[in-house]
């Protein structure tokens, strides 16, 4: 069993994601977040568990539902909120928004508006680790809906042929937008992995300790040069596909079942059993809330992005040539 300090830290990270997204939901409702907003509330154990197995130099390619990946990999709340609120101080200077939060300094290669879009990016990132001889792995997060994209097939194959240090992490929340997974994909990821001879493991995506342990078991062989690995986490989708989605296509029982799986509550119960009292958790929550409110306030106070800078920012500057 994990020691309380580690679990407590995992709890803190999960709670940060949960509270940050709850705050975003409110900001969205109030018109302070433009565009589409896809929340990962309920799924926090996956990014937090997986990123607990990663090092700073490891890289992560994410999805449209990428807030958890960004924060779990270490993105600062200030740049995060400012970006999603469209400010100049955003981590992407307000040009990307929720679907594109990225922080190269911590190996977070970006949330991605293209379903399956992160798969080839992570494949290439793993190639870079391999060529450069770095002791790092790349992680490709993808949803169950992304399994149907040809990119999965091509990347499983390429990663296996080249024995890349790449961990495929599927966040299987049972839904691709408004359609249940069963109606979208006819294969099991385990069987696909077996077909490519890629080690596969499933973890309970509500149990952050289980995810962290499984992630370590997948990351370490990849890091040692034993080739790609697959981790599939079943995880609940608590919210609509995006904020504002009335979820008419969803049975109330399905929603109830999802809400019954609560990674935070599970971790809190374990912590309680280990003697971490409500008081301690409350203090953590208060600290999180303070940091979030500070980030929101800073974002509100931040400047609008500068259009001239954006115009000048389409191309990276080339070295001068004759």
């Amino acid at each position: 069993m994990t020691q309380a300090p580690l679990l407590l830290e995992l709890y803190r990270r999960m709670a940060t994601i949960r509270r940050a997204e709850e705050r975003l939901s409110k900001l969205f409702a109030d018109g302070e977040v433009p565009g589409f907003l896809h929340l990962s509330i309920g799924q926090e154990a996956v990014p937090v568990g997986v990123c607990a197995a990663l090092e700073r130099g490891d890289t992560v390619a994410s999805t449209h539902r990428g807030h958890g990946h960004a924060l779990a990999k270490g993105m600062a709340l200030e740049g995060f909120f400012a970006e999603i609120m469209g400010r100049a101080s955003g981590v992407c200077a307000g040009r990307g928004g929720s679907i594109h939060v990225a922080d190269m300094s911590i190996g977070m290669l970006g949330a991605n508006g293209i379903v399956g879009g992160g798969l080839p990016l992570a494949t290439g990132s793993a190639l870079a680790h391999q060529v450069k001889g770095r002791p790092n792995v790349a992680v490709a997060f993808f949803g169950d809906g992304a399994m149907a994209e040809g990119a999965l097939h091509e990347c499983l194959n390429l990663a296996r042929l080249w024995q890349l240090p790449l961990v495929f992490v599927c966040e299987n929340n049972g839904w691709g937008e408004f359609s249940p997974h069963e109606r979208q994909f006819a294969a099991k990821l385990a069987a696909l992995g077996a077909a490519f001879a890629i080690p596969y493991e499933e973890a309970d995506g509500t149990d952050v300790e289980a995810v962290a342990a499984a992630a370590r078991r997948r990351v370490e062989p990849a890091r040692r040069g034993e080739g790609p690995q697959i981790l599939e986490c079943r995880t609940p989708r608590w919210r609509g596909h995006y904020e504002g989605d009335p979820q008419k296509y969803r049975e109330p029982s399905n929603l109830d079942a999802a809400r019954g799986q609560d990674a935070l509550a599970l971790a809190a119960a374990r912590l309680a059993a280990q003697g971490v009292d409500a008081e301690a958790l409350g203090a953590i929550e208060r600290a999180i809330t303070e940091r979030i409110e500070a980030a929101v306030a800073a974002a509100r106070a931040a400047a609008e992005p500068d259009f001239a800078a954006a115009v000048a920012g389409v191309y990276a500057e080339a070295r001068a040539h004759a």
Binding site: P34, G35, F36, G86, R87, G90, C92, G94, R95, G96, G97, I99, H100, N112, G113, I114, V115, G116, G145, A146, A148, E149, G150, G176, E177, F178, S179, R183, Q184, F185, Y249, E304, P305, F307, A310, V311, G313, V314
Partner: protein
């Protein structure tokens, strides 16, 4: 002439086409049971059943490719690509298969398929959910590209696109779905390739399509208050485009601005400007003006997106420059 939403006009065109021809089938991501991501296909599953109206997995390449194969084998598929940005995955099916089959098989077959794809910004949906990529398709012999700007055209052009024996990219605008316009009780198809004079005017011509038609009309209103009478030509389709109507209008006004939401550089407006500049050479009173998005990915933040995308103000300014003495 009841008022109808653009999305409802598309829905009705689909329903009417499916009722008229059993070969018309519909598939795409979330178009059946959920009724479409923008609710455009709502009710069609109930009306026409699961054999003809299908949800697909997230497999844009297979959606477009299967549409081409189905069209070769007797169906008239209408498929939806949820955002035009994702047409990137359909390029091979459309360009190398669908567009070429009629020609390269010596006229043995046709490929009657329609790909519906909403383009355009205005929703702060960011760089990967806002693009206007119609110029790519207009450059491909064998494809047609249709861009309706109002509900009546959405209905009529979609009926024509479905009837057409060629692959048609049917470009909708996300920002237009909620807009209203008149639709006759028994609406008729609208011929692909025929522009429409959306507003007559004698001083300058604005050639435009899609959501930019409304911006152009608003610009024309503003200009009229300054005494500038602007003719607005709604192309309705960009491949083929109605050169005759455009040249006729420019022949009268001697001034042309082209307005679209896509990036100007290498956009649809370039072809029209090149063509008109050559064919009306010596008869233009001013250089042809182009109004389009700034040369950049469509940015997320509200102020950035507003500054990036063109609108009424930019169109009016372009026309004013056309009118300025040289």
């Amino acid at each position: 002439m009841p008022e109808t939403r653009y999305s409802a006009a598309i829905n009705r065109a689909l329903a009417d086409a499916m009722a008229a021809d059993e070969s018309v089938v519909l598939f795409g991501e979330d178009v059946a049971a959920p009724g479409g991501p923008f609710a455009v296909t709502r009710g069609l599953l109930a009306k026409f059943g699961p054999l003809r109206v299908r949800d697909t997995p997230i497999s844009e390449a297979a959606i477009a490719g299967a549409a081409a194969g189905a069209a070769l084998s007797g169906l008239r598929p209408v498929v939806e690509i949820m955002f035009m940005d994702f047409m990137t995955f359909t390029m091979d099916a459309l360009v190398n298969q669908a567009a070429k089959a009629h020609f390269m098989f010596g006229g043995q077959c046709s490929v009657p398929m329609v790909v519906r794809a909403p383009h355009g910004g205005g929703l702060n949906a960011g760089p990967q959910h806002s693009q206007c990529l119609e110029a790519w398709f207009a450059h491909v012999p064998g494809l047609k590209v249709v861009v309706p700007g109002n509900p009546a055209d959405a209905y009529g052009l979609l009926r024509a696109a479905i009837d057409d024996p060629n692959p048609v990219v049917f470009v909708e605008h996300k920002g237009l779905y909620g807009s209203k316009g008149e639709l006759p009780e028994s609406p008729a198809p609208v011929a692909i390739g025929a522009a429409r004079i959306a507003r007559a005017g004698r001083d300058a011509t604005v050639v435009t399509y899609g959501a930019a038609v409304a911006w152009s009309l608003r610009a024309a209103d503003a200009l009229a208050r300054e005494g500038i009478e602007t003719e607005v030509v709604d192309l309705r389709s960009v491949q083929p485009w109605d050169e005759a109507t455009v040249l006729e209008s420019v022949g009268r006004t001697r001034r042309l601005a082209i307005a679209h939401e896509a990036v100007s550089a290498f956009g649809v407006g370039a072809e029209i400007a090149a063509c008109v500049s050559a064919k009306a050479f010596g008869r233009l009173a001013a250089p042809v003006a182009r109004v389009g998005a700034a040369f950049m990915p469509v940015p997320f933040a509200r102020s950035l997106e507003r500054a990036c995308l063109p609108g009424e103000t930019e169109i009016a300014a372009a026309v004013r420059r056309l009118m300025a003495p040289a």
